[in-house]
């Protein structure tokens, strides 16, 4: 079976959807030369310059014009080269794109996708090119958020994002671009809002997203050797959030560890922890634990990266700590 890299999965999804719907257009910096992460290689030759627009270096314009183009009936897929640069165009994303359906009373629909390289992964990209920023978007009603964990997930989720009637931010983890998997056959589509059980287990639920899913799987494999059975849930999308998948798993295991790459301070993991506290309190046999990136600007030094980043080791450590927690005696009234 042919292999598919995460990088080529982006390309495959874009090609699949451009083939399927001629209203799909791409815009972004350096995309006609194939993109700095090589996720758009060959698309201009295949679909023509009228559908692949190399833009000046202006993220506000890329994102703002994507909105205008969507209003004109296109289905734009705009590349924000590094997701850190959402900060450069956040007004367009938050105040305009996210609110258009609502403010027009549902009369204007913006079926657009904003996508680009996200995440840390200890690659030496530093504070301003290495952030995981899904949680920035999670604070904004009106945006959907997908952050695929594998090549196969990438094709299906990006395709779904492009077909979606609402603005979707798709986060591509730059440390995963080289990851390979057997390529699936035929058209791919994974509905937004359905989490995936990446590994079944009975003692503890590990919830991950994007790169942390694989870390959870690796931690689970190690924990299995020590007699701990961990279930791994890949959230796939933060909005819509598949709360039932999390609650169902916690109902089974009674323990929850949430693993996010962004800094812990109001990371998306806080929302999952709150969900469990509110709706799974009776199921929980131990406190919810969050494993997150250090609450510091990401360092550029390799030595420091290893400390700040989440890792299978840190996840396993957290689980072992959790397993030692004795259930508190019933409270005296």
């Amino acid at each position: 079976m042919a292999e598919l890299t995460y990088r080529n999965a982006v390309l495959a999804a874009l090609a699949q959807e451009m083939e399927r719907d001629e209203r799909v257009v791409l815009l972004g910096e350096d995309i006609t030369s194939g993109g700095v992460f090589k996720t758009t290689v060959g698309l201009v030759d295949r679909f023509g310059a009228h559908r692949v627009w190399d833009t000046p270096i202006s993220e506000q314009a890329i994102v703002g014009a994507a909105m205008g183009a969507a209003m004109a009936g296109l289905r734009p897929v705009a590349e924000v080269m590094f997701s850190d640069f959402y900060a450069v165009c956040w007004d367009q994303v938050v105040n305009e794109i996210a609110k258009t359906r609502y403010m027009t009373g549902g009369q204007v629909t913006l079926p657009l996708v904003l996508r680009g390289a996200n995440g840390f992964g200890s690659l030496g990209f530093g504070s301003q090119h290495g952030q995981s920023v899904e949680n920035w978007a999670m604070c904004v009603p009106g945006l959907k958020i997908a952050s695929p964990a594998t090549p196969v997930e990438m094709v299906g989720l990006l395709a779904a994002a492009i077909r979606d009637e609402d603005p979707v931010l798709v986060f591509e983890h730059k440390a995963l671009y080289g990851v390979k998997q057997p390529a699936p056959e035929g058209e791919q589509f994974i509905p937004l809002g359905q989490a995936r059980v990446a590994r079944e287990g009975t003692d503890v639920t590990l919830v991950g997203l994007s790169i942390t899913v694989g870390m959870c799987e690796r931690a689970a494999a190690v924990l299995a050797d020590t007699g701990i059975s961990a279930e791994v849930i890949d959230l796939r999308t933060l909005v819509p959030l598949d709360a039932q998948a999390v609650l169902g798993s916690v109902g089974k295991t009674g323990r929850l560890v949430v693993v996010e790459e962004n800094p812990g301070q109001l990371g998306w993991g806080a929302a999952i922890a709150a969900l469990a506290a509110e709706e799974a309190f009776d199921d929980l046999r131990a406190p919810v634990i969050r494993v997150s990136g250090g609450n510091v600007p990401w360092p550029v030094a390799r030595e420091l990266e290893a400390v700040v980043d989440v890792s299978p080791e840190r996840i396993a450590w957290a689980v072992q700590t959790l397993m030692k927690h004795a259930a508190a005696p019933p409270r005296q009234h």
Binding site: E29, D54, H129, N295, V307, W317
Partner: protein, 382 residues
Amino acid sequence: MSAGDIGVSPGDSSFAEAGPELIQLLTPEGERVEHPDYAIDLSPEELRAIYRDLALVRRVDVEATALQRQGELGIWASLLGQEGAQVGAGWALEDQDMAFPTYREHGVAWCRKVDPLDVISLFRGCDNGSWDPLATKFNLYTVVIGVQCLHAVGYGMGIQRDGSDSAVLAFLGDGATSQGDVNESFVWASVFAAPVVFFCQNNQYAISEPIEKQSRIPLFQRARGFGFPGVRVDGNDVLAVLAVTRKALEAARTGQGPTFIEAYTYRMGAHTTSDDPSRYRLASEMEAWKLKDPIERVRAYLIRSGQADAAFFESIEAESDELAARIRKGTTEMPDPDPSSMFANVYAEQTPYLREQAEQFAAYRASFVASGDGAPLVGSEA
């Protein structure tokens, strides 16, 4: 107005050619020429010092590129071909002036007396650049395109209110001129008559995108619309760059507001060591620019005018070998930062949350058994 009104038709890139507005004092062949608005009078010592800077800056670049290739640096953004623009601009700065660089201004860093190793430590991934921006009057490198132009304007407004006689030099690339931040900085500098000079190195490319993808008119002409002068200088002519930048900084210092300088040059190398320019440009283009090398023309001029002899060039060669050796040794010997340093300097005073996280990290690290083959995957019970 159509593009035709300004002498440009769609798909026509001729506007991007240097053109008669190009200010030049030293031709590619090394011949001194005069310009009615820009005079420069340099002693033989100064000219030799400029040559020395050009040659040493190139050597820093060549050495850093080699170190990256050998896996000693994570990435390097080469200034190859832009030495004239950067050393010219660096020479134009007075001690009290402030400079705001992008990520490619190694030549300006050199002129500001920033140790090349302090620059390299950033690209090696040891720190974010270890010089003091305020002491060296050279800000840290900025990697989000265009942001520094606004910092430069604000700094300029600050020193303006202090009544100081200094100015600010903001560096940017051709691609950066498309950013909102940059355009807003032009408006502000103009309206507040801020003592800022925008020094744009038009090296013809923004990663893979040629200048035609950023602009339909020559960049220097944009300044007029914002209300301040724009000039186009031969960026490979260090003398012209020095003269033009000096004049613009002097105008800024004396309350005459901003100037936009388009230093017309060429990025001879890749965008960074992660880039492969053969994907998007022809080798013949580079060959043509090789003939306009910024260092060769100074060398030719020095020889022709009898201001430097073979012994001088040999001494520079020897000095540059020493510098390269020092850089190589200094780079490979750079210590890794202490992991606990990660939590420093997030705030003036550490928050309780951060303190707690630092303690957790320490406990986590302490939980590992120190073993020859690194940390085990699962923490020990010890």
